[in-house]
Symmetry: D2
Subunit: 139 residues, 4 copies
Amino acid sequence: MSFTHELELRVRYAETDQMGVVYHTNYLVWCEIGRTELIRALTGASYADLEARGVGLAVSELSIRYHGAARYDNRILVRTTLAEARSRSVTFDYLISNAQSNERLASARTVLVSLDEHGKPVTMPVDLRSLLAEAQAKA
Amino acid sequence: MSFTHELELRVRYAETDQMGVVYHTNYLVWCEIGRTELIRALTGASYADLEARGVGLAVSELSIRYHGAARYDNRILVRTTLAEARSRSVTFDYLISNAQSNERLASARTVLVSLDEHGKPVTMPVDLRSLLAEAQAKA
Amino acid sequence: MSFTHELELRVRYAETDQMGVVYHTNYLVWCEIGRTELIRALTGASYADLEARGVGLAVSELSIRYHGAARYDNRILVRTTLAEARSRSVTFDYLISNAQSNERLASARTVLVSLDEHGKPVTMPVDLRSLLAEAQAKA
Amino acid sequence: MSFTHELELRVRYAETDQMGVVYHTNYLVWCEIGRTELIRALTGASYADLEARGVGLAVSELSIRYHGAARYDNRILVRTTLAEARSRSVTFDYLISNAQSNERLASARTVLVSLDEHGKPVTMPVDLRSLLAEAQAKA
């Protein structure tokens, strides 16, 4: 269990574009994998389990700055940090870097809101909230 | 209403890869747009309406041959033909070409099966079947 | 020629996710189509021409807020506005809405920087800069 | 070094569609990762190295049959087999299954042709050819 979670992935050919680098929106897919794995590490449950209980986390806002370019076959490090946990929203920060050179590639932030099966904002399940609160307190 | 349907689209930057051409799986996304628009032209209803009635069409097999390369910003012509309509499956053929040069880029075939909301194979709704059968008879 | 450019597109099945709505990064692909078409409308040239002259525009930062959900087969309106043109960067704002209901779905901003073939920041070609400056002055 | 290569990956949220399963073209992205890793295991070099030497492998034809559905967060096993190595083309077979349940999800075949930097068919580099031939002989 950790407040910051790290994962490594390898750039897929499908993720590149004709500029010879990773197409810019794919970094945000990596962020999603980062927060999924942070939640799994933190709660012992998957985001899929959460959805099965009728709770979804939808991105309500995001921002990203690109500092360098990821390229095909690069090993990428995604560091995801739980920045803020509230009853209906949770904010994650991300630092994406090249795992070999340590070059910083992008920094991002996403705010997610808790939605029920009909897309209405709801408070997060108590067990998830307390785990998030606990993790945040450790910072 | 037509047995063969034509649509034009423009290649998106996001669809390219570092070889400087369209990533190969994106032609299959275009095929999907082709069959969706053929169904709309044929039935006056959208595939979304079909799903709302609890019927999905899932790809059960596909094949594609690549003859040339589509590039960023090219205008692409997708010709979709209803090849065979059966009670539980429907087969479409596709010819993808460069709309300006007429260069043939890819030819593909997909077989789709009719599934209910639980993913079980079912016969297609009678109205869709009769429209497909009628269209096929005109060939 | 216009300072704000509008385009309409239809949501592809491939753009949805299992929440039943458009996957959040795909709105950013639509933004890219928006700025490409604004540049075409403004300059009479395509972004592909620009790249052929050895100049690329790379996203250096972006932010987006989601207000509502786009769904499969929806017709989407993308309004792209040239917010600021500088010698080495250009900023665009986007408003994405449902073209039928007029529901506002997302608002975004991207900053792009001008890069040469080796990925080094360069000033934009004079002709592009003057067209951008002219368009901005009309605001 | 192995004639058949196995890799495991986890389904990303971005890979699902509104049917609640993996969008059908994403299995073909997994196939690409499969053959990339087979080539790395076989040659000790990456496909990126190959491209750096001016040789690309482009998909010239592919076919896939879907037997079951992959779902979000599933662990997926991709078994890639070198089916045939020729001077200008190489054929791979793929078996994609659920790594937990062993359910067979898809079987596919791709034919790739060797292209130079200008997109012209060329014979593959001698060292790659001999490694592929050797691997095939072990079958």
